[in-house]
Symmetry: C2
Subunit: 158 residues, 2 copies
DNA sequence: TATTGTTATACTCTATAACTATA
DNA sequence: TATAGTTATAGAGTATAACAATA
């Protein structure tokens, strides 16, 4: 079971130093996780990026567009396209604040809030179990370490 | 320090349920990790995908192209382009095996092995410390959980 | 019939820079 | 001068399907 030659003959691959490369593991982990995401949200026609925008607007009404982009690590140029499409779809309201006419404040419309009301429970259900291959406890620890790495507070309980 | 209103006024964002969403955390983690990657490999003109191909070929000489693609979660169509370019650059040798003339076996050339000899120490150095924000112990635990989730053995020591 | 690699196409996301209007 | 958002363009990476050669 621990003989590399047997693994090779069974069609397995030796990752060598890559098995210690965090970026590589994170990339594969994200691909696996996203596959599960699309399974859970199959009926909703939503992509990960759109969901994150909706959730952050729900939590931070009136947030400025650039700050949203920074929080989600989405480039400003791309964020412009995303939020404009969501504005066209009636999910988002955009408004120039009086104290800085260069900026753009974002709000969810009623339709946007309704969308969140549908999606949030699906997300909660999707996240409730452990990740594939991990126990609930191990999954919680994995998330905790990622949050610490990213300097993100656990705001799910508050 | 734990008052959300203070955080908002200081320019922080409430992530709400997203702080519990594994896919979201993995995505941000990968972006952060890749930024570190490009810093470490700044002088080498290499991208993450190319490095993983080189490392896997070093560990699995003669591996078939489709198996390589599957191991790295890269689509076969994209893998074709990658390995052909690396073949043009003289890093990879491709050969049709006698027992299955549809297939393609991949090997590193001497130049490819030399490239690995340069890159592997940089990767080792890059991974030697803890991830930003985490201790070495925490980073090791994070990697262990990701490997378990992905069903990847730690082959760095063997 | 199924599989391996290839080709082609379209789409998403990213990277970059230039532009405007405001500060 | 600097900043927020916009526009435009190019380049990765991905998804998909169709195809030829082979199993």
């Amino acid at each position: 079971m621990d003989d590399p030659r047997k693994d090779r003959s069974e069609g397995k691959v030796q990752y060598g130093p890559l098995s210690e490369a965090l970026g590589f593991l994170l990339r594969l982990g994200q691909l696996k996780s996203f596959a599960g995401f699309f399974r859970s949200f199959e009926a909703e026609d939503i992509r990960p990026g759109e969901l994150t925008v909706l959730m952050v607007l729900h939590e931070n009404p009136g947030i400025r567009q650039g700050m949203l982009a920074k929080a989600l690590s989405i480039k400003r140029a791309h964020m412009t396209k995303m939020v404009r499409q969501m504005e066209d779809e009636g999910l988002i309201l955009r408004r120039v604040p009086e104290d800085d006419k260069r900026a753009m404040e974002l709000w969810l419309t009623e339709a946007g809030e309704a969308r969140v009301a549908v999606l949030a429970p699906i997300l909660a259900e999707h996240e409730s179990g452990g990740a594939a291959g991990l126990s609930v406890t191990e999954t919680a620890e994995l998330k905790r370490l990622l949050r610490k790495m990213l300097n993100i507070r656990n705001g799910a309980s508050g």
